[in-house]
């Protein structure tokens, strides 16, 4: 009874802070060892070690995604310049020019968000392609969900940055040669884009990366 109480917290931690496909088996193994005479301190050490190993593994996955997101967002100015060369922005807003305020502002904002969203989604597909060896079993539903999450994150982060830096009127939409030389501009466009892409990758990453698991017997 006393032993059960002393490991109850460890068991709770094990249940809530370990990840991966083998969590149930790991919990069962530790229970089996405890029942066979292992001490509560051994159990605690094993639980803390399992949590540390799991967190390190997951953080490594997320760190790579974060670094990729930051690096990809740096290419956004080049992306916008490419789009401006093909004069896409001139084609899109023209029919909306005659619309009265406040609708014209909203439509202008949407038109500015489209290149940013496409850029983030391209980054997601590139990451999934590059990591296709490690990431398997990505369903269409999960992919759609991650695209949707990235869009929401991008929108919220852009709105947040815009509110913070309102006087300078900068954000992913506004781009000109002078603004490209500004560090604050790069920060302002990188943060929402990197957050949008990172949220997409994080939600697309499966909880387990398992392959080749055999079907249950029987």
């Amino acid at each position: 009874m006393k032993q059960a109480k002393s490991v109850a917290l460890a068991s709770w931690l094990l249940k809530h802070f370990t990840f991966g496909p083998h969590r149930e088996a790991l919990t069962g193994d530790l229970s089996e060892e405890l029942q066979s005479g292992r001490s509560p301190s051994w159990y605690w050490r094993q639980v803390l070690s399992a949590i540390a190993v799991g967190v390190l593994r997951r953080s490594r996955d997320y760190l790579l995604a974060l670094l990729f997101s930051l690096a990809w967002s740096m290419f956004y100015p080049a992306w916008r310049l490419c789009l401006s060369r093909i004069r896409l922005p001139h084609i899109l807003p023209q029919p909306w020019g005659s619309i009265d305020l406040p609708y014209s502002t909203g439509l202008h904002g949407i038109a500015e968000m489209i290149p940013a969203t496409v850029f983030v989604w391209l980054g997601l597909f590139l990451y999934l392609f590059l990591r296709s060896q490690q990431i398997s079993g990505l369903s269409a539903v999960r992919l759609l969900a991650s695209l949707s999450i990235s869009l929401n994150t991008l929108f919220i982060a852009t709105a947040g940055i815009w509110l913070l830096l309102k006087p300078s009127q900068i954000g992913p939409g506004e781009l000109n040669p002078e603004s490209l030389q500004s560090n604050s501009y790069l920060v302002a466009i990188c943060i929402p884009l990197a957050l949008g892409l990172f949220s997409a990758i994080a939600s697309a990453l499966p909880l387990s990366h398992r392959r080749n698991s055999a079907p249950l017997p029987g």
Binding site: G28, D29, Q35, Q46, A50, V53, P215
Partner: protein, 111 residues
Amino acid sequence: MREHTYLGEFELMLLLTILHLGDDAYGVPLSRELATLRGRDVSIGSVYAALDRLEIKGLITSSLGDSTPERGGRAKRYFRVTRQGLKSVNETRKVLSKLWKSLPSPKEELA
């Protein structure tokens, strides 16, 4: 799938232990056997992390067994080395054997 799968020291130990244990290769005997062989306690969490990596590489496969009361009703997960895993172990053995043969034996070194 990559043509060559490089094995880490711990991964190789795990594969050999799974082969040694045969049909009884699940977490508890695996970690006990490894602890006996290495002469120090093994973290079961690390064992499962390595097993997960091996499974992703396609070198092992797993299946659920029976649940028992001492495990709190949780099923055991048994591991088995795949054909690709066997091939990888054999390739690693060949390379290691060649490397060991290329070195002078401890007796020669002392003399």
